[in-house]
């Protein structure tokens, strides 16, 4: 065996993530490693927290980056908040809602499922019915932007229902953060997790999370230890918190945090509202181009995600052949359908640094040529 160095091609990433990474983020990624307890690194972590507070629009002290991908951020929320026997209402309208449900079960919680069809947003009415039927429910969980279907749900209404029925809310913002309006404090979100590889224009591998004071109080009053040592927020907080002596928990992924820091600096410099508008603008351009090609959206206009466009694969078109030609001829990646949508749907991402005129133009032209 003799393996050589790996040189990836330059792709244009317009799938469901990872999406195109800002060149400055790639530069930051390869800066020299310093120790995870180096005072300069600790200072940088404080800035990451501040920048995440801005991105999440929150003042939550307990805001940080989990040292693993979004799936681990999801698990961090559930294993910390759910104690054995806790009843949790999970709204499911795609793959990631189902994954939340799986997390409730594995955390020992009692699962109440509220289901909507794939391609539909979470129904506040159904959630309210479930909350009426289960007055002992302690938490409500849902996905803000379903990556499997391209649907945006009304997080503000769902969280206010949760509050009304004395429940904490757990929100999946993996695909929404940085791409569409999201106000953690104003909407009363109690626990939220995201990923770096979507609208933050960063490499995959890290999961920003934030917990409200009420969520932290629930974690601190647990009667049983958190089942995961790695994700135990009562331990991790001692490393991330600026209020006390840092204590070693695990070795932070130093360079990945350089990258996240730079991605968040770029977001700050652009401004959140401008980033949201850029995603909306590119979505409109893509949409009008796709419609000219006779390609239609599978999601109603009112709840379409600008950053993840789920469209029907035209009748008679070979899904795999088209995606493969886009990849091999144009170095362009678009996403396949997931689960029930496999073979029926393409998911075209316009996330973060991928939401630019040149990407939209390339995608439309390459699709046109390929479908001819």
């Amino acid at each position: 065996m003799s393996v050589s160095s790996f040189y990836p091609p330059q792709r244009t990433l317009m799938g469901p993530g990872p999406s195109d990474v800002h060149p400055k983020v790639l530069q930051a990624l390869s800066r020299p490693v310093i120790g995870h307890l180096d005072p300069l690194f600790i200072g940088m972590m404080d800035e990451v927290r501040e920048l995440l507070q801005y991105a999440f629009q929150t003042k939550n002290e307990c805001t940080m980056a989990v040292s693993a991908p979004g799936s681990a951020g999801m698990e961090a929320c559930f294993v910390n908040l759910v104690e054995p026997g806790d009843k949790v209402v999970v709204c499911i309208n795609g793959v990631f809602g189902s994954r939340m449900a799986e997390n409730v079960v594995r955390s020992g919680g009692q699962l109440v499922r509220v289901e909507d069809d794939w391609g539909q947003p979470v129904s506040p009415d159904k959630l309210e019915d479930a909350l009426k039927a289960h007055p002992d429910a302690k938490m409500v969980a849902f996905v803000h932007a379903e990556t499997s279907t391209g649907v945006l749900s009304d997080a503000q209404t769902l969280c206010s229902l949760a509050k009304q029925y004395d429940c904490l809310s757990i929100v999946d913002a993996v695909t929404s953060l940085g791409g569409v309006p999201l106000y953690v404090d104003d909407w009363g979100i109690d626990a939220i997790y995201s990923g770096t590889q979507k609208c933050l224009s960063c490499v995959p591998g890290i999961s920003p999370v934030s917990f409200s004071d009420a969520a932290v109080a629930k974690i601190k009053s647990r009667k049983t230890p958190v089942q995961s040592w790695f994700l135990d927020q009562t331990l991790v907080m001692n490393y991330w918190s600026g209020n006390q002596k840092r204590s070693y928990h695990h070795t932070a992924p130093v360079n990945a945090l350089y990258a996240l820091h730079e991605a968040l600096v770029q977001l700050q410099d652009e401004g959140l509202e401008n980033a949201w508008q850029r995603h909306a603008r590119q979505h409109q351009a893509l949409r009008s181009g796709l419609e000219k090609l006779g390609i239609s959206f599978i999601v109603d206009e009112g709840c379409r995600l600008p950053q993840l466009n789920a469209v029907a694969i035209p009748e008679g078109v070979d899904d795999a052949a088209v995606r493969s030609r886009l990849l091999n001829q144009y170095n362009l990646e678009i996403g396949a359908g997931l689960g029930a949508f496999a073979g029926k749907v393409w998911r075209i991402g316009l996330m973060g640094y991928a939401a630019r005129d040149e990407n939209t133009a390339l995608c439309l032209r390459a699709l046109e040529e390929t479908l001819q």
Copy 2:
């Protein structure tokens, strides 16, 4: 608030990790992102698995990289192998043995502790006594190279005892992999985890793991689901395994895996035995220099780790002041003592790319000037 880009200084990292990273690894880290299901990426993952098999000296099919730091690799071994009620003997001679014990408890296992003093290797006699006293034990866990104390334990003897008493073995090789001889198959290790930021000369954030056929059989015959969805090897294997259609589990940390691939290519090109010898050689040079400075090792010669030199802080020397001067004046990081050794011990790492003549020379000269 306005945060600027972060530019870390160029440090020489001679603590307990992260250690110096090979420049080619940093270059690989910032190559263009491609999709985690891109055929070219899948091909690279296959190479990572092959290269890890070489590094671990194993033919285990179930060899892969956990998408999170070594602590998560540890947790992956315990949550997958330990079912509620399983009795696990954990040998503890430092911080990381204690962390293993914590993992057994959180996985619902019955913990049997075998303790040795900090600075001592794990005693095979004590382990055998415990195995005789607990004939129903199902697993034995220990740390090959204790990062908190700089001690090497005799993994071959400990694993053969485990086998003799019908137990699976779980081995922490975070600091040993690439730095000292380690033969997973020959020694009969059933589950092993490591980290990228020690002797592999790679950035922190990923954890190589490997499971024997017997370990995989135990995982597949579980009566209860693995409590962690993120670390559930029965799911992760479907993404890493080359024998079937890849199924999406979580988004792989693409760039971190580029870096690991390159680090393993470097190890392959140097040759494992040569890497072990390089660590041994630098250790001898550091040792003779330290002895001239009147600094003595706290670990007996027969079980010292070449890659992590735990030495007594000389009488009357201000621990924090010395480390701070080394860091600020020489850009040199050495490690503080952990737990019971805080304030009493320095840990000088010679790990991976840090095990070079120039590092040893800098460290000895800077210590000499600082202690004058």
